[in-house]
């Protein structure tokens, strides 16, 4: 939370003082932190919760993307860093996740920080009936930043209300997943040099997929053309579409993927889950229509990229992997750099 950010960060900074010797770029950090907090102007990331990108301005999002870029050599292991040495991240994963949890851990550890936490609610005291509010109030005294994944929608907002330490939402039910969105934006920006003016098609499960909800909202900050391609059963919920339109984003809905392949710059594919369909025949039909193959991409723009939050099942055929369009594995790498950026910004070790 913002209110107590200043005091805590001063303490943290002292605790982590060897870092400043190791990293000359960070040597003026304490000083910058103080002036920054006092004048209160400009972008304020220190102590901030990252619950929903709706809470951030376009400038702030672009700032995170810019800081992310600086972390590329560290994320790829070419350079070593002790920027977050002495800091502890606590992963609270009430719902399983591989990439998100591991990439948060990797980002923290590559920056010299430590990681604790649990990977499933079965190994936490939630199983004994502890409320999330209580868990947060206990855990905040064990760490400097909390990363939370829950199946309950709005859980991260509640955690942020309860915690004096910054809370990063790593997915709450079908709602928001802000760091996934940041890495998606980062991947696009890295590829095209900009996000403005891109023609982006979101394909697949637009009803339950939280990454597309989160991403489509963030795209309202940029003047893009957005197409929503889904079977009728999995259309984006009216809440989300009304949100997008309220923010001036022009949205085109279609069921036919061939409508968008020739025109889009980004084909963002998501997994269609079998359990969403009461009739298995219907699922097979839909799955076939929304599986991308290399042959389908033949009429696409040369520079068009295919993205996917992963894990994929069979919505992208393996023959797409070697094409010049595939970017989903690079996207996973972007996850490390944006999480490094978010962690160092909210912990006050990198200025916005």
């Amino acid at each position: 939370m913002l209110g107590s950010g200043f005091l805590i960060l001063t303490e943290k900074d002292q605790a982590g003082s060897p870092v400043r010797d190791a990293d000359p770029a960070a040597s003026a950090n304490l000083f910058m932190l103080i002036t920054f907090t006092i004048d209160g102007a400009g972008m304020e990331f220190v102590g901030r919760d990252v619950i929903d990108l709706k809470d951030f301005t376009r400038d702030e999002v672009e700032c995170i993307l810019k800081v992310s870029e600086e972390f590329e050599p560290i994320a790829s292991g070419k350079e070593r860093s002790r920027l977050l040495e002495g800091y502890v991240l606590c992963n609270l994963f009430f719902e399983p996740s591989t990439r998100t949890r591991l990439s948060f851990s990797s980002a923290m550890m590559r920056l010299g920080g430590s990681v604790t936490g649990f990977a499933s609610s079965a190994t936490s005291s939630a199983k004994k009936g502890e409320t999330l509010s209580d868990t947060i109030r206990v855990v905040e005294s064990y760490c400097d930043v909390i990363v939370l994944r829950s199946n309950k929608e709005g859980a991260a907002r509640l955690a942020a209300d309860m915690s004096s330490k910054p809370v990063i939402n790593a997915g709450d039910g079908a709602r928001q997943h802000p760091t996934q969105t940041l890495l998606d934006l980062y991947t696009m920006k890295k590829e095209f040099g900009k996000i403005d003016g891109l023609n982006i098609a979101l394909v697949g499960d637009l009803k339950y997929g939280r990454t597309v909800h989160s991403l489509s909202y963030a795209l309202t900050m940029f003047p893009v053309e957005l197409s929503l391609v889904s079977p009728p059963q999995l259309r984006m919920p009216p809440e989300e579409i009304s949100d997008l339109e309220e923010h001036g984003l022009k949205v085109k809905e279609t069921w036919d993927i061939s409508d968008v392949i020739k025109t889009c710059d980004v084909l963002y594919v998501t997994r269609i889950q079998k359990e969403r369909f009461p009739d298995p025949t219907e699922y097979e039909r839909v799955r076939g229509a929304y599986s991308i193959t290399a042959a389908m991409l033949e009429g696409a723009k040369k520079e068009m990229i295919v993205m996917h939050p992963l894990p994929r099942v069979d919505e992208i055929a393996p023959d797409v992997d070697p094409t010049s369009h595939a970017r989903y594995f690079q996207q996973a790498f972007s996850g490390i750099v944006v999480r490094m950026a978010v962690l160092s910004l909210v912990l006050g070790k990198r200025r916005g």
């Binding site: 709005g154 907002r157 509640l158 709602r175 009216p238």
Partner: protein
């Protein structure tokens, strides 16, 4: 005031509450909020309740009016009434005279009066918080949960009362 004025249709009440300028058709919803139902009337509520539906109104064209004898309104009831018919006027009557007149209004945000309809919302879990909403639209009434972002529609709100 026209001769069709509801005050002439039904007798003045001595003590109690008159809820005037109710959106036409919403008198029954107001009764629901006040807990006036078949069960409550036969059990422990023996006061006179007068309901007028679709009476002509110079301000609104048509309106509903509810008069409840011998009963004041609780704050929680006022909050709920303001949600479903935000232009209502509440008159507190004492000895046939209007003692106090209150115009309800719909606040920008609602706390504690309504539950979120999303069963997966954290406000419906066993947590020490009350649901809170932003008013997304007044007419028709539409609230948006501050936690999970789900819209709650007028009908779903009425069902809770």
């Amino acid at each position: 005031m026209s001769t069709q004025s509801p005050e002439l249709r039904v007798k003045k009440i001595k003590d109690g509450t008159v809820i005037d300028h109710i959106k036409p058709g919403y008198a029954l919803a107001v009764l629901k909020i006040l807990g006036v139902s078949k069960d409550s009337v036969t059990k422990d509520f023996d006061k006179i309740v007068t309901v007028a539906i679709n009476v002509p109104s110079s301000r609104m064209g048509k309106k509903d009016v509810v008069k409840v004898e011998g009963r004041a309104l609780a704050a929680s009831e006022l909050n709920r009434i303001s949600l479903i018919t935000p232009d209502a006027t509440i008159n507190f009557i004492q000895d046939y005279a209007v003692k106090r007149k209150v115009t309800v209004s719909l606040p920008k945000s609602i706390e504690g009066t309504v539950r979120c309809i999303n069963p997966n919302c954290i406000t419906n879990a066993r947590e020490p918080i009350v649901a809170s909403f932003k008013v997304a639209s007044r007419n028709p009434l539409r609230l948006r949960c501050n936690y999970c972002g789900r819209f709650v529609e007028e009908k779903e709100i009425l069902d809770q009362f």
